[in-house]
């Protein structure tokens, strides 16, 4: 039996810039990401990887085509509705971790939960502590995020992306700013979370080793997915 599609897009078109600088960033991109699978998007800089991620993450809107979460088409929704979907269904991890500097590691993880508003303060604290424990930062809950190392900050970002138990995790070069050891550790962590908790992960990466370790590799060039390869299939 095939896995359920968590996130998909169909014939996405996106133009960036104005007038002479106008670029056709995405040209009819279609993609489906199933739960429990890790997808890598690879390709040279400027090929449209990030544009695809931002549109799939509902941070940007396509000029044509549609995005669906499970069976619901969401690309036509209002800004507020898209924000709500992002909060509930999508977790983001960026290259530069993007933690809130004025908050501790635990508080950073609690920020998406606060917005969702489904847990009490105590429950949010406990969940954030569990998530941080899961990424090996159980002992640094109350440490201000700016006092953590780069690798630790990226692990906090991973915990934060999982805060509202999203169905999809989108990662834009999640290991791009880390050394090899930390890269491997962060990726392994993500991979385990996806497979253990049935999430769908789409990551854009330049790192061939990481791409090779994914279930799917989608190669992009000039705004088009030119090749999609299934690398592994787990039972």
């Amino acid at each position: 039996m095939s896995a359920q599609v968590s996130l998909s897009c169909d014939r996405l078109e996106r133009y960036l810039g104005e007038e002479e600088e106008r670029v056709h960033a995405l040209r009819g991109v279609s993609l489906a990401i199933e739960s429990g699978s890790v997808h890598a998007v690879v390709g040279p800089s400027g090929c449209g990887k990030s544009s695809l991620l931002y549109i799939l993450g509902l941070l940007d809107t396509p000029d044509a085509g549609r995005v669906s979460i499970e069976t619901e088409t969401v690309s036509h929704l209002s800004d507020d509705e898209l924000a709500q979907k992002r909060n509930k269904f999508i977790g983001f991890i960026f290259q530069f971790h993007f933690l809130m500097e004025d908050f501790t590691a635990q508080e950073n993880v609690m920020i998406p939960m606060r917005k969702l508003g489904q847990l009490s303060d105590e429950q949010m604290r406990d969940r954030a502590a569990d998530l941080l424990d899961g990424v090996g930062l159980g002992g640094k809950l109350r440490r201000p995020s700016r006092h953590l190392s780069g690798g630790e900050q990226q692990r906090v970002a991973i915990a934060r992306a999982l805060a509202n138990d999203p169905r999809v995790i989108l990662a834009d070069e999640p290991t791009g700013n880390l050394d090899t050891a930390n890269s491997e550790r962060a990726f392994e962590l993500l991979q385990n979370l996806v497979h253990e908790r049935g999430k769908a992960l789409l990551l854009a990466t330049h790192n061939p080793a990481i791409a090779e370790a994914c279930d799917w590799i989608h190669e992009m060039r000039d705004g088009v997915i030119i090749d999609s390869q299934l690398r592994t299939r787990r039972s």
Binding site: S50, A83, Q84, N87, M100, D102, R114
Partner: protein, 411 residues
Amino acid sequence: MTPPLYIALRFLTHRKRALLLSLSGVVFGVAIFICTQAQTQGFSRYFIESNIGSNGALVVRSRFRPRYEPLMVAAKNSKGTTGRRIYFEGITNPNEIMRVSREFPDVISCSPVLRGTVSARAGFENATVDLYGIDPSLHAQTTDILRQLIDGNFDDFRNNTTAIIIGSRLAELLQIAVGDTVQLLAPNGEYWRFNVAAIARAGIGSIDSTRIYSHAKIAQALLQQPSGASMIIYKLRDRNRAPVLASRFETLFQHNALSWQEREESTLQLFLTLRMSVAITVSLIILLAGFGIFNVLTMSVLAKIKEIAILRSMGYRRRDISAIFLWQGALIAAAGSLLGCLLGALMTWGVSHIPIRLRGLLYTNYFLVTWDWQHYAFATFLALVAVFIASYVPARRAAELPPVVTIRGSR
């Protein structure tokens, strides 16, 4: 606590220097506004209290009748019939007017006064004085004369028909004290001798330097006046109703009636102009504080551009982002207004203890201040409006920042 408020609090408390700068602007703006309003209104209110306390909130004086001019046509811009009246000095039937007046619920009490100008002599000193012939009991009920006595005894005046009460500055001028004798010159050239039973200080230079109170019957005989009263002064439950009541009394009694607002119009306008001028100046200080907050919040938006993008990516809506910055403004305004009110009260208290020797229009040894909650409410309102305007633009700018642009730019 809503997520935007929670985040706003954290943003604020982690930028202590900016917070202090914004807060101090609001605190000082509000405090100075309160303090200056307390001072300017203090002098104004003291003048009104003293004036009403001495001259009543309402005065009924000369009788009038419409002039018989059947062939005259009113001018186009004519405001009424006041220009076509014939006045007769004095009040024809004061007891009847007072009896009817007391039927009005707004009237607490009224007192007839026979007024005239005479010369006073004490030793080698002479002065022209404003003689008020009064009924001691009625006058004590209607005015603040008992409170105004700074020396002597009101009962000594009440029980002795040849006794007088003299204004404090007039007493200084004539160099007399309680127990001394003053001679008043009657129109027929005779000097009448009076004992000074008490000295009164109304606090208004023009009253204290000219007024002498005597018994009405004695004043009538001395001034050789046929009427028992040249005016009736009123104490009202609500002094602000004086103009309405004056208008009704004019129609009812056919006597000229004057409210305290009309009587002291020029002085009141002077005080009002002064208050407005100071209020405008101080409002500018609050606006400057608002400008400071605008700068601080704009800088904050620029500094937090990355955080805004993160929050948007985590599902925070535009209005949540906007609320974060509006909350920051609201928190500064609330804390600044509260501290400003406290500082304003402290400054007002301090100013009220500054010694100042005024012996002109008003008599006072200290700065006069008014404690009025409306000053605090208005200063707070002004601060809230200024801060809201100052926060609105940065908040809107923050909400409209496209997160993708920031995230792309950080790559």
